[in-house]
Amino acid sequence: MNIIHITLGILLGGAILTYFANKISGVVRDLMFISTIVVAAALFFIKMTPDTVAVFNLGGITLSLGMNHLGLLFSIIILGLAVLAGFYSLPYMKGKDNLGFFYMNYLLSIFGMMGIVMSKDLVSFFIFWEIMTWSSYLIVVYNGNKANKIGIKYILFSALGAYSMLMAIVMVYSQLHSFSIADLSAGFTTMPASYQITIALLLITGFAVKAAMMPLHVWAPDAYSNAPMSYTAMFSGALSKMGVYGLVIVFVTMVSHLPQNFWVRETIAWLGAITAGMATIYAIFQDDAKKLLAYSSVAQLGYIITGVAIGTEISMIAALMLSIVHGMFKANFFMVVGAVERQAGTTDLTVLTGLIRKMPWTFFSALMSAIALAGIPPLVGYVGKWMLYESLISNGNYILVIVIFFASTAGFLYVFKILYSIFLGQEEPEFENVKEAPALMVIPMVIIALLLGFFGAFPGYLLKYIDNALVVMGYPVSQGKWWEMTTLFNAWGNKVSTDLIMYTTITVFVTIAIVLFYRWKNGRYVSTKDISLSGEMPKEDENYSFKLDFYKPFERAISPLLRYKISKYYNEFADGMEAFFDWTRRIYNGNAQTYAIYVITFLVILLLIANNIFTV
């Protein structure tokens, strides 16, 4: 019994107990759920040391679990978000059906994720991966909304990824007769070249599905937006990072040894960048907050994939930094949307309007997340992006920089859209009685928002963990070379002082704000209906907020790009396959005589060719 057993045991046991606690009462269930997460997280962070190992023998296979700094880094994302989103979840999910089921799967997916980051061999990795997949799948379809469309899409792509991973795993086994990841990285170079590239590509496919890389991303927008927001915070924030985790391992231990190293990296990096670009464009035109954020998640994951694929030291730091930061701000954003959904009853951006005065704290955290998401200094979102650009430029991927920069700039558009549509604009009588979300929901959001600011000034606190993780992966120590506690360096020795930026910003902001707020009391708030509009005064039931065709000019400008939609090809392929399946089953035409003729024909054919296929 060590901390690994205990953490996993608590999570698994807690999951099952939570389900049964639901039969007793809702309060017991909630307590069970939250205490499971909190206790697991607390014990984990207090007790976990990087050298703990646990071994199971199952089915003739040795499953070994352990922890290293890379895993620790991702555990921070997982458990940190789990605690925050867990607290958030309690009021958010209150009164919904089947909560025992929901919380059980919630805990199971955390269990799966923790298992993944602890796995030291491929089989346990796969087992936990699948547990994570199906538990998250059950949550995606949990509210029953278009379950067969969205859920099947999600599970189909997940299974596609998982099965390509499984194929790679058995290929590894056939070559090395071991499932251990350590053996794999040691023995990778001894494999035949064709195996090396196949295994690497299969694994990349498997992880890219979870990380929603370009041709495999079509599940993501629907799945993200369909799950309850308190889970999507985890889903987009932590669960998708498992794909990143896998990609990091693959790129470090395998791709770097490939003869095709360069091409694999370039391809994946480009796919990541195109993912970022296209997903951003689609995010801009979404009219549902959840969908918008879902596409935005895909886009952000695109940056991360690019960073991982480039694989230089600084790009790895950038990718891991972006992973953490994306986990923070996107989880926060989804929580914001969840709070809005709970309080105002909808996430339709064309309906929502003017909630800023009703939900100021929610707006504050949304604003912080938005600034971090857009990568604008001085919040921490900027650190990762900066490093990503520096790495791409110093690595010679110039066009990639442009693509990513385009995605990033276009990201402002949807950031503004979501902030404006939900919180700004004219107030609506329909939302007259909307209140700020309960404290249990607001506090996690505000905590994340403040953390975004804090890490913006002192990114070193995060970079330290990333550095440890990268040292485990065989990179040299990067502190001092690429970053200090409050300074970032690029390949050419140029630097950015994050703390100075933060101080300058705050100084200027506060100074100007003081000027602006001088004689604040003399000012008077007037309703947003009181606007200068050619002397016209909107009636109470009229709302002049700009909602429809929000970025029509941009859409017109970019229309050639929108003509190709990958889901169209997938749909056509699926329809074709379905028609084909339907056609093949016509073989069973229901006539016994036909079946008999099949038998005789088969016999005759087999007799005729038997000499060729059987050797006596």
């Binding site: 008077r524 007037v526 009181d530 200068s532 050619s534 002397g535 016209e536 005064m537 009636k539």
Partner: protein
């Protein structure tokens, strides 16, 4: 210091100077007089050399230029625009129609005397006034501002009830949207 009388005077002088030389005009082009505004602003007469420039919204404007007759329908808007403007603000009545109704003196639905509804600082007479006259009017207004006599807004505030009563009288039951005026 700011409450000190002398320094207040200096501040007033500076402020009035600035206000005088920077008149953002919101032209309310209701009547035929609007046609005289473009020549006033463009190359021929170039009002901008006096610091007069157009403003697009009442929030930014200093001068409300009523170019011609106002009907009961438009006066509602004009009042609203006027009240949306920020202090200090001035009204210029433009053309005979704003003074006494002009050629619409017996029309059933035009406003005859603008001053009953809005505090007009300067009238520019003529039907319609030429751009020269308009510029003349602006210069008069500038003088008034410099001397600190352009206090229509203050007058409006002080006699709000009277104005409101007049407005109500002419607008009748169609006045529900006029906001409370308390700034």
């Amino acid at each position: 210091m700011i409450n000190d009388k002398n320094s207040q005077k200096i501040v007033d002088i500076i402020q009035n100077f600035a206000r005088k030389h920077s008149l953002f005009v919101l032209a309310y082009g209701t009547g035929c007089g609007a046609i005289e505004i473009p020549p006033t602003m463009t190359s021929r007469y170039d009002a901008e050399r006096f610091g007069i420039r157009g403003a697009a919204t009442p929030r930014q404007a200093d001068v409300l230029l009523i170019t011609g007759y106002l009907t009961t329908k438009t006066v509602k808007r004009v009042i609203r625009v006027y009240e949306q403007m920020q202090d200090p603000k001035y009204v210029i009545g433009f053309g005979s129609c704003t003074i006494n109704g002009g050629m619409y003196w017996d029309s059933y639905n035009t406003i005859k005397v603008l001053d009953r509804y809005l505090p007009v600082d300067i009238y520019i007479n003529g039907c319609m006034p030429r751009p020269e006259a308009v510029i003349e009017g602006f210069i008069k207004l500038q003088k008034k501002i410099m001397e600190g006599r352009a206090e229509g807004a203050k007058h409006y505030k002080e006699n709000l009830e009277w104005y409101r009563a007049n407005q109500k009288k002419v607008l009748g039951p169609t006045t529900p949207h006029i906001q409370e005026y308390n700034w």
